[in-house]
Amino acid sequence: MKRYGTWKYFLILIVLGFGIIYSLPNLYAPDPAVQVSYTSSSQTADRLLAERIEAALIDNNLDVSIELQDDYVLIRTDSYQNQLKLKDILANALINDVVIALNLAPTTPKWLADIGAAPMKLGLDLRGGVHFLMQVDTGTALKNRQDGTLQDLRIRFREERIRYTQALVQEDNSIFLKFNNSDFKQQAEEFIKDNYSQFNFPLPSEAENSLVLSLSDLEIEQIESDAIDQNLTTLRNRVNELGVSEPIVQRQGKKRIVVQLPGIQDTAEAKNILGKTATLEFHLEAQMDTPRSRKTSYPYRNGRGAPAFLQDSVILGGDQVATAQASFDENGLPQVNITLDGEGGSKMHRATRGNIGKRLGVLFVEQKSRTIYERDSSGKQVPVQETYEVKEIISLATIRAALGTTFRITGLDSPSESSELALLLRAGALAAPMTFVEERTVGPSLGADNIQAGIFSMQLGLLLVLGFILFYYRVFGIAASLALSFNIVLLVAIMSVLSATLTLPGIAGIVLTVGMAVDANVLIFSRIREELSRGREPLEAIDAGYNRAFLTIWDANVTTLIVAVILLSYGTGPVKGFAITLSIGIVTSMFTAIMGTRAFANLIYGSKKNLERISI
């Protein structure tokens, strides 16, 4: 029998040690906890915050421990009831400059955490929470861009003394311009070519003395990608405002965004905040002499007054709001205190300085979506999601003095409306509206049941398989059983180190791996039996068995691995979770079933010179 290299034992011991240490954190159950951080991201959690929390909890006999982390204060409790109680107490005691979130704090011992060991992440189906998939309506972003460009062109044409009769954004998001004569048209064409690069040149013309400005493909791609990036940023801000620990906000594919919020129960609130495109616009009230083409009539929000005309030019929009806080005015009515950024402040100052005595209108702009039914080519009614814009006046107040960077907005219905508006202004606006195309909510009780079911089925499966191979292969059965258990430990360790997410289908993948991993050993052991029955010496038979079975095992596993990797790259959700554990399981099982059992067999039989028979 070939000498079994010492380095192989070492390798196995090292891998075994790695597996045990890095799978250990999964045995420590996490503490239900609450984390508190400041609303504004510039302020990091400090001693002061921790002391305020301590003071707030002093009268309550809750068994808690308060820890100051990098950017939040963590308060651990001993049960889920106390966790909720704690959240309520803190929400009442602390003023609204903090965000309070429920969390599951790992209890990994320090020495393990120091070497980077951490437990596996649990998927939403195991811990409860909500998963949203949102589709970004990038068409709106294109239209907004063209609207802005058109407004700009009007001003520039006036400066350049180019006379036009018509200027509008068409249905297909192209700008249509019509001029008084061909000279103006030529002049405009030159001017646009020199100053704007985003259009398809040469500019086509639909009617006499007209130009059509359509965005180039490159520009469209840029605008769409910018819109999605801005939406991602805004969503991250909003999710932070919601107070969720370990949220996921990610782009998926070309026009979609995935948001996962573990532990969130109230999905209606979450959806309301995430999908809202509300923002503010500040306009001056139109005067009697304002031409009809430069003013629009808007209704009052909730019909508090007669519709009023506002000028079309925007002084500034919600994107120039630096901070916003909800509070109450002297009469106890809800209001929002707004601080503008530097640029916004000077714009506001310039616009209000010369218009004292006139009225300033605050427009509430919201993009909503509705379902309409259209007939497709085969005449079937199909539902189509459509977005539309609602603009309503929330206040129209006389300017008494030039405004600066800070002012307040009144005229809101309720405290919840003011705090929602403040939140939306703080978190920034969405560049394009979004529709929810997929939503999956898992309640906490189902999550807990799923973990239970997963663990039970794994235990039973393992027990049955171990029982069978011990009975069937005896001493070699012990080797295979050890290898199988080692395989699970190793799989869990690798999942933990990769911080992969464990889901219910993922557990099914592990269970399936247990059943299939035995295959390698079955192949080896049947070979050994065959060689024995051909009259070979036991040690030679072991050697031949391992060698001959190896290539078969290799081919069989590589093909399964190909399937698993394809599942991993094409699948979403449940399919992905299954594919992750299946792929890792195939790799680890090859190692444990071949090297692990071989080392075991060598330890038991390798030293015996004249081995008569083996137990297989």
Binding site: T371, Q385, E439, T441, L446, N450, W554, T560, G571, G573
Partner: protein, 305 residues
């Protein structure tokens, strides 16, 4: 285990048997179609847990009074769990509306929300396309790998066996109208992996015997190989079925259909690696000569443990 079964005596019967099954499966998929789950149809699903036995007909009537026409209400797993489905809906807020309607009517009952799922219509069809694509890609890669490692006839035989298995498992799902969702799709792909595993082990032995055996007759060699690997085939299928049954029984409702698809798949895959793959090899006219030009097997010795 030493077997000496004349498998190939049953060859013709196996072909008839498989053909009948394939025809029934394809017929059922064509006529009855699949009972597509929410992942593929789009729509809304709500699972609720009642503290005591839930009154399905009461829930049904309060739903239709509340304006939710066409809602399917059924028990899910136990008499206390209720599953409400509204296929093909486009509004993403129906789930929470249903929950608030039902809990408003039963304020004395503590209804526990287990899950809400909403899948938009465009997502459903996308998932279906992606699923089909990934299955075809998986098959193509398998063929390439086997053609590269073995020989093109083995690749052809393996793919015939795989298609056979997938069609029959999907056919069974169509025939008894078990819901076909994303996890079942994952299971079907896993069946491809498993069945291939089996086919490769058998093919590997056939190849080895074709090269080394003193027997000249391909059929005899194949029969001998099948007997040699039968013990392993049965044991592996048995251990895999053991874990699958424990998943089916204890893994919860969400895993049940997944486990079921794999159980069917493992049984059919075991049968097909014995009868279909080996049969296909014989029909394609596999002989010793086809393997002569190849390198000896132990050229891969550096991979040994």
């Amino acid at each position: 285990m030493n077997f000496n079964i004349d498998f190939l005596a049953w060859r013709k019967i196996a072909i008839v048997f498989s053909s009948i099954f394939l025809v029934i499966s394809i017929g059922s998929i064509a006529i009855k179609e699949l009972n597509w789950g929410l992942d593929f149809t789009g729509g809304t699903l709500v699972e609720l847990s009642y503290p005591e036995e839930a009154n399905i007909s009461e829930i049904r009537s309060s739903l239709s009074q509340g304006g939710f026409e066409g809602a399917q209400v059924a028990n899910f797993g136990s008499s206390r769990e209720v599953l409400i489905k509204l296929p093909g809906t486009v509004s993403d807020s129906l789930g929470s509306e249903i929950v608030s309607l039902l809990s408003k009517e039963n304020t004395d009952l503590n209804i526990d929300l287990r899950r809400i799922e909403y899948v938009g219509p465009q997502i459903g069809s996308e998932l279906r396309d992606d699923g089909g694509t990934s299955m075809l890609i998986a098959l193509a890669f398998m063929m390439l790998y086997i053609a590269f490692r073995f020989q093109s006839m083995f690749a052809g035989a393996a793919v015939i066996a795989l298609v056979h298995d997938v069609v029959i498992v999907v056919g069974i799902f169509s025939l008894i109208q078990i819901e076909f969702d994303l996890t079942v799709l994952a299971a079907i792909l896993a069946v491809i992996g498993y069945s291939l595993n089996d086919t490769i082990v058998v093919s590997d032995r056939i190849r080895e015997n074709l090269r080394s055996s003193e027997l000249e007759n391909t059929e005899e060699i194949i029969n001998k190989s099948l007997n040699q690997t039968l013990g392993r085939t049965l044991i592996t299928s048995l251990t895999t079925l053991l874990v699958l049954f424990s998943l089916y029984l204890l893994g919860g409702e969400l895993i049940k259909n997944f486990a079921l698809a794999l159980i069917f798949g493992v049984v059919i895959g075991t049968y097909s690696s014995i009868y279909i793959a080996a049969n296909a090899l014989i029909m394609m006219g596999m002989t010793k000569d086809h393997l002569k030009v190849e390198e000896p097997e132990n050229s891969d010795n550096n991979l040994l443990p």
